[in-house]
């Protein structure tokens, strides 16, 4: 109690130096929380986007299917059995057939992946309802793909693929809809057709490569199909987030260390300059640990003031950013990353940041204060140590 009151008075009394330390440390708080909040916001948004556009409640894959290796596509499809048809009719799963192909926009050759998907599905946000009319070969593509092929809605492009016997076939597809989404993997290189059309084009009648599961699907795995949990499908994003978080920590660490050094320096100086005061405390009957406590609390109190100071300008800033987002204009980086990021500041993030900074400030305040334990009160009272 005494320590807190004294610490408060001494800090206020120390004036400029205190406020410098507090300002620097409050920057550390704000930068750490801002940056981590930004990454958390990106992660949350990214996970939501992935879930909405691609992942759903997980997938069921043909065991041979590898989405990064088009060679596997030829052998990774099989018949959709009655049980799965029933599930599809209940809206629990959406079948997808995957075929490698080439597109020839403007006579250029582009390697593409054709994905046939049931137009009725409502599990992912791809606007498959535009594919309902099977009398024409309609396709929906994302904005990235449209840009790559230099096409717009209403254009036709020639595509060429091999059917199940390996024989080349070709047709014009009609771009009926271009959709915008933040998940590159449903956009880059992908042309979405109706499942029935692609099955007919390839002769793979009633076959599929994988199924997107709804959140409520809970059938577990089957022998024919391998269950792929959402965590596997989002691990790329998780990986990027981890590395971004780590990269940010270096900068935050440096800022924090500068702030802590300032506190450390202040402590060393104040313990040196206030020897007579230390001697007086001991003469008045304080134990050395109590005196160390006073100085430690005093140093650590910088971090509490800094948290308050940081809150004064940080909270309005954070609220503003969380509401209006931050537009980075990244262009397309092949990341699951929206144009505008909405930072997300969790209580957990704030709690841990404050706890870590206060702990660190306490430690750097305590270290120089330990010297008091070795001081002779008689020398301290003379104020002539060192």
């Amino acid at each position: 109690m005494i320590a807190f009151k004294l610490a408060y008075r001494n800090l206020i009394g120390a004036g400029l130096r205190t406020w410098l330390n507090v300002t620097v440390l409050s920057f550390a708080y704000v930068v750490i929380i801002f940056h981590q909040g930004l990454i958390d916001g990106w992660h949350r948004q990214g996970l939501l986007d992935l879930k909405a556009w691609e992942v759903g409640g997980g997938h069921l894959w043909h065991p041979a299917y590898n989405r990064y290796d088009p060679i596997t596509f030829q052998d990774s499809h099989r018949n959709i059995d009655d049980k799965l048809i029933k599930k599809f009719n209940e809206g629990q799963i959406a079948p997808v057939l995957v075929v490698q192909a080439s597109a020839y926009p403007d006579g250029r050759l582009i390697s593409v992946i054709l994905k046939g998907i049931a137009p009725r599905q409502e599990i992912v946000s791809i606007p498959t309802r535009y594919l309902a009319d099977n009398n024409a070969v309609n396709a929906v593509i994302g904005t990235r793909m449209a840009k790559l092929m230099k096409v717009k809605e209403g254009d036709n492009i020639l595509i060429r693929w091999r059917d199940k016997n390996g024989v080349f076939d070709a047709t014009e597809v009609h771009i009926i809809k271009i959709f915008k989404c933040d998940v590159p993997s449903v956009d880059n290189g992908q042309i979405w057709l109706s499942l029935e059309n692609l099955q007919k084009m390839t002769g793979l009648v009633n076959e599929a490569t994988y199924f997107i599961l709804s959140e409520s699907y809970n059938e577990g795995k089957t022998d024919e199909w391998k269950f792929i949990p959402p965590s596997y499908l989002t691990r790329e994003l998780d990986e990027i987030i981890r590395s971004k978080r780590g990269g940010g920590m270096i900068m935050q660490g440096i800022l924090l260390i500068i702030a802590l050094l300032a506190i450390f320096d202040t402590q060393v100086l104040s313990i040196f300059r206030r020897q007579r005061e230390i001697g007086t405390y001991i003469a008045l009957g304080m134990t050395r640990p109590q005196v160390i406590g006073i100085f430690t609390v005093e140093g650590a109190a910088h971090s509490v003031f800094a948290a308050l100071a940081g809150a004064v300008y940080g909270i309005p800033l954070f609220i503003y950013l969380a509401k209006y987002g931050i537009s980075f204009g990244f262009g397309d980086m092949g990341l699951t990353l929206a144009d505008t990021l909405y930072p997300y500041y969790s209580l957990e993030l704030i709690f841990w940041t404050v706890l870590i900074v206060v702990l660190a400030a306490t430690i750097v305040s305590y270290l120089p204060a330990r010297r008091i334990a070795k001081m002779k009160p008689t020398e301290a009272l003379k104020g002539k140590l060192q």
């Binding site: 005494i2 004294l6 003469a283 008045l284 009272l381």
Partner: protein, 238 residues
């Protein structure tokens, strides 16, 4: 043993390491103080007055010899025990006042009671009483920086007295004060000594202080060279 003896020092030697050897600051000091004495250690600079006072106050330990206060040995006390002793039984008054600059007059006086965890109402009463003794009830909310030297030393006296200690040790309490203020604080201390039977031990070479002392112990080169009752103490006080 006389049960009114409050401090006993037997063959106290204090050596300070200097270079490769040591310097003997106190050499074979044997002394007793009775309860309620108003005594002073006098002698030239470097004679060992402060060193002896520090040993009595348990801020320092002798190299050799025995020392006890209120029949409690001062030898081999832990830091905690000696802190306890100072907190409850010993008051200090310094030449430089040593008030806590960030605290008000009231808070400075209250400090030792807080250490002893005295309850608030009792604390208030004791602090106000102590400030009355020294005549500073009108300065309770002042900060030390706003006080004169004499006022500061009176606050220090109130601080040392508020816990009603057995012994008050005052090292050159008047060295930074003018004559009027010196007499004022000496009169205050003398009054408290008489009313509360608190033992005062001074270290001084100030003639003004000596006038008030009832016993003068002269030190030179770490030895006692005189120990006399002052017959006309207080007679010359203004």
């Amino acid at each position: 043993m006389n049960k009114d003896t409050i401090i006993r020092l037997e063959r106290i030697v204090k050596n300070f390491p200097v270079g490769t050897g040591y310097f003997t600051a106190l050499n074979n000091i044997t002394l007793k103080f009775e309860k309620g004495e108003f005594a002073g250690l006098v002698g030239p600079s470097g004679s060992g007055k402060t060193t002896l006072l520090n040993i009595i106050g348990s801020l320092d330990t002798p190299t050799e010899g025995k020392a006890s206060i209120m029949d409690k040995s001062l030898i081999g006390l832990s830091h905690k025990e000696s802190a306890q002793l100072r907190s409850k039984h010993i008051g200090f008054i310094f030449q430089t006042y040593n008030l806590l600059p960030v605290y008000t007059v009231y808070e400075n006086v209250e400090f030792t009671l807080l250490l002893q965890k005295v309850p608030l109402s009792e604390r208030r009463k004791a602090v106000m009483e102590a400030l009355e003794w020294v005549g500073l009830t009108d300065k309770v909310n002042s900060k030390p920086s706003m006080l004169s030297g004499g006022e500061s030393q009176r606050v220090a006296i109130a601080r040392s007295m508020v816990k009603k200690p057995e012994v008050v040790l005052a090292d050159e309490p008047t060295a930074n004060l003018d004559s009027v203020n010196s007499h004022h604080i000496l009169q205050t201390m003398k009054k408290l000594n008489e009313e509360l039977k608190v033992t005062f031990i001074f270290a001084t070479h100030d003639e003004k202080v000596m006038q008030y002392l009832s016993r003068i112990i002269s030190l030179a080169d770490g030895k006692i060279v005189g120990d006399t009752i002052n017959p006309n103490h207080g007679s010359n006080a203004q």
